[in-house]
């Protein structure tokens, strides 16, 4: 966790032109660091070349999160289980934590990027 986080912190600091100490695992990437879509595009390039893992932009940045929630509700499925299946790099407690947070804007945090990279490293 620590090594992956430190490297992601450096990438975010470079791309967003912010100080590294403003970036913690719990920091919101859009809400707090002000990342825009082109920044996420550049971040995907950096993560891909820095960690040598395939990055699926839609997954890692949770871009379809709200669609998945709507789908799950439409099918009357359990939302948390539905999301766990589609975003397997996230832990159950993290998904539960996100649910009430969705109304306040993009919920993506630095620790989600760490989870994605670690999950990719383990699962190829």
């Amino acid at each position: 966790m620590k090594e992956v986080f430190e490297r992601i912190r450096q990438m975010l600091a470079d791309i967003l032109d912010v100080e590294g100490d403003e970036i913690l695992p719990e920091t919101y990437i859009v809400r707090e660091l002000g990342a825009e879509s082109i920044d996420l595009l550049e971040l995907a390039v950096s993560l891909n070349s820095g960690f040598n893992v395939e990055i699926n932009d839609g997954d890692i940045f949770l871009s379809r999160l709200r669609d998945y929630v709507t789908e799950a509700k439409g099918k009357k499925d359990d939302v948390v289980l539905y999301l766990l299946e589609r975003l397997p790099f996230l832990k159950k407690d993290r998904i539960e934590e996100m649910m009430p947070d969705l109304e306040d804007g993009p919920t993506l945090k630095v620790k989600d990027l760490v989870s994605y990279v670690e999950w990719r490293q383990e699962n190829g």
Binding site: D17, L41, S49, N52
Partner: protein, 406 residues
Amino acid sequence: MSRRVAITAVGVCSSLGCSGEQIINSLRKGRTSFARPSFDDQVVSSPIPDFNIKAFTGPFKDRRYLSRGGQFCVASAVEAIRDSGIKKDLLSEAGLFMGTGPNLDIGGEFPEILDGKMDRKDLMALWMLRFLPNTAASAIAMYSGIHGENLTINTACAASLMAIGEAFRKIRDGYLDLAFAGGGDSRLSRGGILAYKKANAIYTGTGEPDTASRPFDSRRKGFVPGEGGAVFLLEEMTHAERRGTTIYAEICGFACSIDGYSMTAPEPTATWAEKAVRGAMDEAGINPSDIDIVSSHGTGTPLNDRAEAYLLHRVLGDNGPLVIALKSWIGHGAAACGALELAIALSCMHNNYWPEIRNLDDPCHINLNFVREKQDYFARTVLLENFGFGGQNAALVVRNTMHRRT
């Protein structure tokens, strides 16, 4: 009564300094930055050492998309906005006219290119922005909140003078009350040097770097590439007077033309360049005898200086106004040269100080009044000329709004 146009703010990044005061001090003390680049011991360039755009912008993530020339555009614009003191409401009405050059730093951007395969893992998603001409304007607008009429001009070495001229006309003709105008460029990279070396346009030789740039001297051997940027706030005169702001100078006339003669060389008789020069004087409503100083294009290439000297003699006659050549001090700023030379000329105007043409030992034309030694001189009217690859010609007339010192 037609509308008049004032210059009310200046931002500049040059090898002589990044303020009017630094520039005049460098001119007085003879401080230049000519040196050989690390990668080529045959050529000379005039870099701005230790330039860091962040010192101008503070944190600004979009700087990653700026070529070095684009960085000079943005840094100069930020300085001009700061100097103007104008706030968001006026900025949103302002226009933006930028002269920019191509990013020739191909080797720096693609260090491992082989067999034409450009892609690599760490290539930025939006790498193309460093090659698009209007990226600097886009970044300036994002940074500052400028939203008015705008234009990015890529007419080679006439680009930034044309940007200033077009902005002048937009204000004079009532489309805008305020416009930021100027440009920035840098072609000191390996790719830039390679381009002009192969074109046989730049100085090559083993002499002292300080003596390489020698406009109008019979031993001139080509231009010396420089870099930098300058941006001005142009403002409708009564608007500026109502704001009670400093008026640095008035822009009185502009014109441009195109040779239609050669892809690179100037038309040898300078017929069409003369059309631009006379056009700018007509627009300003002045005669050649009204001009006190000519800031020549003076690149130091054999062809340019010969054509320009003929032109100046035809227009100005024997013993005409003083002729300066600022490329002997800063090298050739490419697309930025017009804006850089205007910024330096304004400093000279305000200090009644005109620098000698460096290295002019044996003038190529005997009937022109080249400034051979520094002069303390009050100049009321200055003519600026820039000519570029592709036969681009531009001229601007600027008038001193400061009163003569007694």
